[in-house]
Amino acid sequence: MSEERAFARTFDSLQEIFEFTAGYFARHGVDPRIQATVDFAVEELFTNMVKYGATAEPGSRVRIALEAVEGGVEVALTDIGVEPFDMTKAPDANVDLPVEQRRPGGLGLHLIRRLVDSWDYEYSPERRESRITFKKTLAGTPAPGNASSTGEA
């Protein structure tokens, strides 16, 4: 059974979002071992929508839906009144740079790509609606070291 809530477009919503995910995990028996990863992906996607949703209608909210699936959960974040921005196509960060060349930022989407089983983006021009979904299961947890780390920050 899925549950959906809408959240104000501010970082201050994060606490409320984490309470929603924790509550859903508890109510639907989703394995708590994947909760930190699910919260990570939700936070990164939500904060990107906050940062890059400047054209969104004033007062509009980001909707987050959770649905328990075999061994894990599927999550959808929906943003209305925005320009298209396919986060799944964002380039990887270059994590092999020496520390003096590293700059804060650019790691969120790079990490989601490695931590979730799958993710997908859809845009509806009629509704100017961005919708990003991802799936996370315990069985699908990747082993560290298997992911590549190429591309630009």
């Binding site: 970082f11 990570f40 994590v95 020496p98 520390v99 590293r102 990490l111 560290p144």
Partner: protein, 97 residues
């Protein structure tokens, strides 16, 4: 919620969740530390990319002054995040026992 403060032997102890909303408080505290500093992450349940930015900014400042930030008590979830971020190449990381 997040708490960050000095513990025994000048170790900095961070507990709770370092999400984007909590980063200003963590950065404000870490901006004041000097030298070689151990950050006890044993009670750090969660970190997002905004939190990684706080650690990276602190490490760059300390390294430039001849010090460094060490990360101790790092749990499995944090280890994965640090490894995928390349932080295992720029921080000394001591896993949780």
């Amino acid at each position: 919620m997040l708490a960050i403060d000095f513990g025994a032997q000048d170790v900095v102890v961070i507990t709770g969740r370092l999400d984007a909303a909590q980063c200003p408080a963590a950065q404000s505290f870490l901006d004041k530390v000097q030298g070689t500093v151990t950050l006890d992450c044993g009670g750090l349940e969660y970190i997002s990319s905004a939190g990684l930015g706080v650690l990276l900014k602190t490490q760059k400042r300390l390294l430039a002054a001849g010090g460094k930030l060490r990360l101790a008590g790092v749990n499995r979830h944090l280890q994965d995040i640090f490894q995928y971020s390349g932080f295992d190449q720029i921080f000394e990381i001591e896993p949780a026992r």
